[in-house]
Every structure is written in C-alpha cells, then in structure tokens.
Symmetry: C2
Subunit: 175 residues, 2 copies
C-alpha cells in the first residue's frame, strides 16, 4: 500500500511488492488472481472500512451537529490513512470497468450520506446551498484536500485542523 501510494500502481512491480512483504513474486498469486486484483482488494477494503467506521457513529439530532460530525469524521479518518486515500483517489483509472463500478458505488454511498445531511439542513432552514449535489462534492473535495499538505508532526493537531475546516464548512453552507 505504501509502495502504491509513493510510486503509483503502474510503477510498482509484483517483485517489489513481494520484496516488501519478504517473499518471492510467485507467492503473491496465492492471494490475488492478478495484479489488479491486489489494487482492487486494497481499494475495496478501504471503502468498506470508511463506510463501516461511518456507520458506527451515532448520529446527532440536528443537521448542524450532523454536519460537524461528518466534517470531523472525514478529516480524522482521512488523515490517519493518508496512503489508502491517496491510492483510492489516484488509481481509479487502473481498474477495469467492473471493478471501477464497484468502487464508484461505494464512494457514491458515502457522498450520499453528506448530501442527505445537507438536504435535511436546507429543508429545516439551517443551511442554504446552491445545489446540494455540487455542494456535496465541493465540500468533500475541500476536506480531502487536507491530505495534500498535512504531515504528522506539523504545527497543528488533527483536532485543530478539524476545527479550522469545520469553521469554513459551517459558513459555506450557512443561510
């Protein structure tokens, strides 16, 4: 996973992966049908864990608290899995049509959770967004952007970053 994140799926050979886990290349084929299966497995696992972790949280009552919860969850989860996030966002094009569709469905599920929050908030009059679908994608892009600059050990804690982004998210959807 670290190898894929650092060099890219296509640039990493089965022999490098095998060396990474201390084994010969041929042995990998006891665990994956082919190279793409390996990538797909990692991606699917990541998305499953994302949705599972999300489902475990108990949802607050009002949309504003739900949005804050989503924001903090998204940032915290993505920050502690920088490699997985990177690969899952970057290597989609290396999946064949079927595998791509599977991952895309999972991603859509996750996006739908945020969109549902926004819609409820708009209906309740506590949010105002020009277009709930676009707002969803815009906010997720903004939040996921943390991964491009955050490095553990920097001047800000995860909690502080959460708060900074929450401030902007809250205002962006304010009426």
């Amino acid at each position: 996973m670290r190898l894929f994140a650092q060099h890219g799926y296509a640039a990493v050979s089965m022999r490098q992966i095998a060396a990474g886990v201390g084994v010969q290349a041929g042995a990998l084929y006891n665990y994956t049908p082919d190279k793409q299966g390996l990538l797909f497995g990692l991606m699917r696992e990541h998305m499953d864990e994302l949705l599972a972790a999300r489902a475990e949280r108990d949802v607050p009552a009002d949309p504003l608290a739900q949005l804050e919860d989503f924001t903090r969850f998204h940032i915290a989860f993505h920050m502690e899995r920088a490699d997985e996030v990177f690969v899952s966002y970057m290597e989609l094009r290396n999946l064949d049509a079927e595998n791509f569709a599977t991952i895309e469905t999972l991603r859509r599920q996750y996006e739908d959770e945020l969109e549902a929050i926004l819609r409820r908030g708009v209906a309740a009059g506590v949010f105002s967004v020009p277009d709930s679908k676009i707002a969803t994608l815009a906010l997720i892009a903004m939040l996921t952007g943390v991964n491009t600059w955050y490095r553990t050990g920097g001047r800000l804690s995860v909690r502080e970053v959460e708060t900074i982004y929450w401030d902007m998210v809250r205002k962006a959807v304010a009426p």
Copy 2:
C-alpha cells in the same frame, strides 16, 4: 497529454505516445532527452500558462471582487484544461527531485496569489478565515474538485458552475 491523463504516465509507453503523433518511438528523442522530460515539459507548460493567464487579468479594486475574479478564473481555466490539470496533480510523484521542485515553486506562486487576496480581505475586515494558508489550500482543493465531476455537455454551463462555487467561497470566508 490525453494519453497521460487517461492511463497515467507510467502506464503509457513511448511507442504509444509516438503512435499518437504518428511517428516512430525513436523520433521522440529529437524533442525530449527522455520520457520524464516529456512529462516535465507538459507540466511546466501548463503551470506557465496558468500563471500567464492569471497575470493578464486586471485586478479589481476591493478584495471581495478580487476573490470572485480568482474563483471564476480558476474554475474556467481548469475546466477547459481537464487533461492538463489531471496530469499536473496526479503525476507529480513521477518527477525527480529537481523537476518536482520547479513545478512546486510555480504552484506555490499561484497559491500565494490567492493567499494574498485573503490576507488583504482579512486586514480590511471583509473576510475572516481561521488560517490564511490553510484557507488557501482548502479553497483551491474545493475549486479544483470541479474537474472530478464536470463533463462538457452536462446540465450546467461553465458560468453557472462558477456562480455556484463563488457562492460557497464567498460565504466560507465571510466574517
């Protein structure tokens, strides 16, 4: 460029590139010292054009108008160069240290323009952001996210997308 965007730098061979321009692989070496030089050339050209296009615009007077101008410019420019943007954001890891630093410097220049706008706005009391550097990166990530979903010929025009995002940007940095 289209090939790099669709399949990724590492997944595209020199022979494929050559075929794309109707030539044999060897002929490419009259134009680039090696494969990475080709990627670097495309990236550098893209960043130069970005900064040049930005420099051509005459800047509005107040920070609010400047921010709107930046937002609309960024979206419009990035939407009409989907492939270049995609490659420039995705293939950074395939550059060696020196080339990477060059591109990174150009990107930083661009980000600094937005940050300067934000700082002026904060100083003038028309903006309020928790951290101007982070806000810069957050906004750029959000705006660049358009490239993940927008397809020409969809239900929204570029101008409409600009306006939708501008609404969210404006509110996100509001006092």
